[in-house]
Symmetry: C2
Subunit: 144 residues, 2 copies
Amino acid sequence: MFNKETEYALRGLVYIQHQNYQGLRPGIEEIAREIEAPQAFTAKILQRLVRLGFVNSTKGKGGGFHFDESKPDLSLKQLILSMEGGRILDGCGFGMKHCDAEHPCPLHDQYGPIREALNRLVSEETIQSLARRSDSLFKVLNMR
Amino acid sequence: MFNKETEYALRGLVYIQHQNYQGLRPGIEEIAREIEAPQAFTAKILQRLVRLGFVNSTKGKGGGFHFDESKPDLSLKQLILSMEGGRILDGCGFGMKHCDAEHPCPLHDQYGPIREALNRLVSEETIQSLARRSDSLFKVLNMR
DNA sequence: TTTTTAAAAGACAAAAAGGTCTTTTAGTAA
DNA sequence: TTACTAAAAGACCTTTTTGTCTTTTAAAAA
C-alpha cells in the first residue's frame, strides 16, 4: 500500500502517541524495536517528522519523542502527503496523467469510488484516533 | 497505485487487444507511442508477458502482438499478481506482517472493505473488458 | 537465398527507495 | 564543568525500479 517510509512514520507516530497517553516519551531505540523497523532508518524518518513540525523531540537524559498536545490532531492524509505525495490518493488507476469525467480511463468509473473511500478514510483517521485504538498492538508495553 | 511495469503492461495489453478487435496487430513502436511509455522498456515488459503466455508475438514483416482468442480473458488480478505480486491486494494498510480479525491493526476494520472492493474490481475486470471500453482512449487510431 | 522487417535476449546504466554508520549538537545530572 | 545521554546531521552504501543500447534470432518477401 504505502511505501516503507510512510509505514514506519505511521507506526512510529502511533507508537509515540500511544506512549504519550501513558505519560511516557519513548526514545528512538524503543520505538524502532516496538514497531519492528530498522533503527537508523526510523531515526532519520523521525528527524524529518520533527522538522516538519509533526512531532517534538528533546535531547539528553529523559529525552525522547512526544506530541504537542496544544496542536490539532494529525490526519493520516497530512502525513501521507508529506511523506510520499498524493499519487495514491489522487492518481489514476490506469496511470494516465489526465483522467477525468470528460476523458475517463477504462477504469475510471470503477476505481473512482474506491479512491474516494480511501481519501475519506485517511482524512477522517488521525494518528491520535489510531493510537487510542492500539492498546492490543504493542507487545512489551502491555506487560508492564 | 501500481508500479510502472504493471501500468505499462496494463495499458500495453489493453492497446493490443483494442487493436486486435479491429483486425490489427500492433508492433512495439506503435504500442509504446500510443500508450506513452518508453519504447525499450515497454518491449522488455511485453517480452515478459509473452513468456508468461499472456499474449503472443510474431516476428518479421506483418508481425506484432496479438491475443490468442481461444484463451479465456485475462483478469487484471492475474496480470497484477504476475507483475508485482500481491502486496497491494492483500497487504495490511498499516504494514503489519500479521494483521487479521484476531490481531487487527488499528486500520483493519476501516481499510478492510476498501481492499475487498479493490480485489473485486481487479477480479471482475479483464484486459478484454477494458479494451472494449477504450474506444475514446487512443487518439491516433480514432482518426482513421 | 538474400534482404528486410520486427521481436528476443541480455548487458549496461541512471534514479529512487531503503538502509547503515560516524560524528556533532544539545540537554541532564553528578 | 565534566561526564553522560539521546537526538540531529550528514556521508555513505545496497537494492530495487526504471530505463537504454546493442546484438541476435526468426519470419516474410523480393
